[in-house]
């Protein structure tokens, strides 16, 4: 008798944990950035407490005789508080290692940006303005600025590359699930090596640019788009198509990397290096930019030639 549903709403809606906060409307241009960067005073605690209040009010004022069993209601409250404690702890641990806000910035993309960026990666020769635009001292999200690096395209391109590699190996009857894992970890290891070498180079030359680790991961992940294009042409048009596509995507990618990194590396001056030693610095920075660009075709060839035999 005490378990009969008496209220207008079903039982489980009253007991649901605080739902995740609704995504901000995409019409408002800066709302995404504001809630992620300056949302600290309101914070997750604010959202959860407001959800708690809503849940408490509806369950308290609505149907009183659902919680006739005090043990059940006490267990429910304990369980939901434990769940929120666990969530807070996990959030705290994760934000110790990497800033989730910074990561959210890289995934704030929309379809228009992805289309324009893919076109830019394949044909960057007509693009005029390569500056990353700022807004109130923080870089604009990729949604509003086509020059901003993002992590969505590299991630998706990486996964697509792995699937395409599996398909290409299957066409050549060399497929097995272990090979897929091997291909994935090889590509991942090359990304890690490239990012570490770039970081080491930037540190040794004391280049105080605002390139964070995630930026470097993004820029070194853009080559997967070129790799996908190359492998597709190699599969469709044979060996000649493979080399033509390799040349095209290598040139486009080298141009893209040089133009993008030139803004960040070459134009970041030290505070007061006006002496004769300053002449050596731009040369070394130029070397590092050119070396990064020259590394891309090599790695594209290395990672795709065995797929298009």
């Amino acid at each position: 008798s005490s378990f009969q549903l008496k209220g207008p709403r079903p039982y489980k809606l009253e007991l649901s944990k605080p739902r995740a906060r609704a995504p901000p409307p995409s019409g408002d241009p800066l709302l995404f950035e504001d809630t992620s960067s300056s949302g600290q005073p309101l914070g997750p605690q604010g959202y959860y407490s407001s959800e708690y209040n809503m849940g408490g009010m509806t369950s308290g004022g609505g149907v009183n005789n659902l919680f006739t069993d005090p043990m059940a209601s006490a267990a429910v409250m304990y369980g939901s508080s434990l769940a929120s404690q666990g969530k807070d702890m996990v959030n705290k641990e994760i934000t110790r290692f990497m800033s989730v806000n910074k990561l959210k910035y890289f995934f704030a993309v929309d379809t228009k940006y992805v289309m324009k960026k893919l076109l830019l990666l394949m044909f960057p020769y007509t693009h005029q303005d390569w500056e990353v635009r700022y807004h109130r001292d923080s870089p604009l999200t990729p949604r509003h600025d086509v020059n901003a690096p993002d992590l969505y395209i590299p991630t998706m391109a990486f996964i697509t590359y792995i699937l395409l590699a599996g398909m290409a190996l299957g066409i050549q009857k060399r497929f097995s699930p272990e090979v897929l894992g091997l291909c994935a970890s090889t590509a991942l290891v090359w990304v890690v090596i490239e990012v570490l070498v770039m970081l080491l180079g930037l540190y040794l030359l004391t280049v105080h640019s605002d390139l964070s680790t995630f930026d470097l991961v993004a820029y070194s992940g853009y080559k997967y788009v070129g790799m996908i294009f190359t492998v597709l042409c190699g599969l469709l048009f044979g060996s000649d198509g493979y080399f033509v596509a390799l040349a095209w995507s290598s040139c486009a990618l080298m141009f893209f990397i040089v133009r993008s990194l030139r803004m960040k590396i070459l134009s970041s001056l030290s505070s007061d290096s006006m002496g004769a030693g300053a002449a050596a610095k731009p040369r070394m920075r130029l070397y590092i930019t050119v070396a990064t660009a020259a590394f891309q075709p090599l790695i594209i060839y290395w990672l795709t030639s065995h797929l298009v035999r």
Partner: protein
């Protein structure tokens, strides 16, 4: 060259071990890369060599204890699983 993630971890451990093994007085000072020879000027340009020396010295200081732990784990695992 097919890398597995395990190969990457092994490479990283070996490289860090190699940097940690460079002894301060017996080796680095002899070739002019000691910690006390790199202060140079307090100007804006540390230069590549002093950056490298700083890097080596900080890697040796920071990674001393974690390397002991990681190397012991590696030894035990290699003994157990070949």
């Amino acid at each position: 060259m097919a890398f597995t993630l395990y190969a990457l971890i092994q490479t990283a451990i070996l490289c860090v071990n190699a940097i940690a093994v460079l002894h301060e007085e017996r080796f680095l000072s002899k070739i002019g890369w000691g910690a006390d020879q790199g202060i140079g000027g307090f100007g804006d340009e540390p230069g590549i060599k002093s950056q490298l020396m700083n890097l080596i010295r900080s890697v040796r200081t920071v990674m001393r204890v974690p390397l002991i732990i990681v190397n012991s784990i590696c030894i035990v695992l290699l003994l157990l699983f070949g």
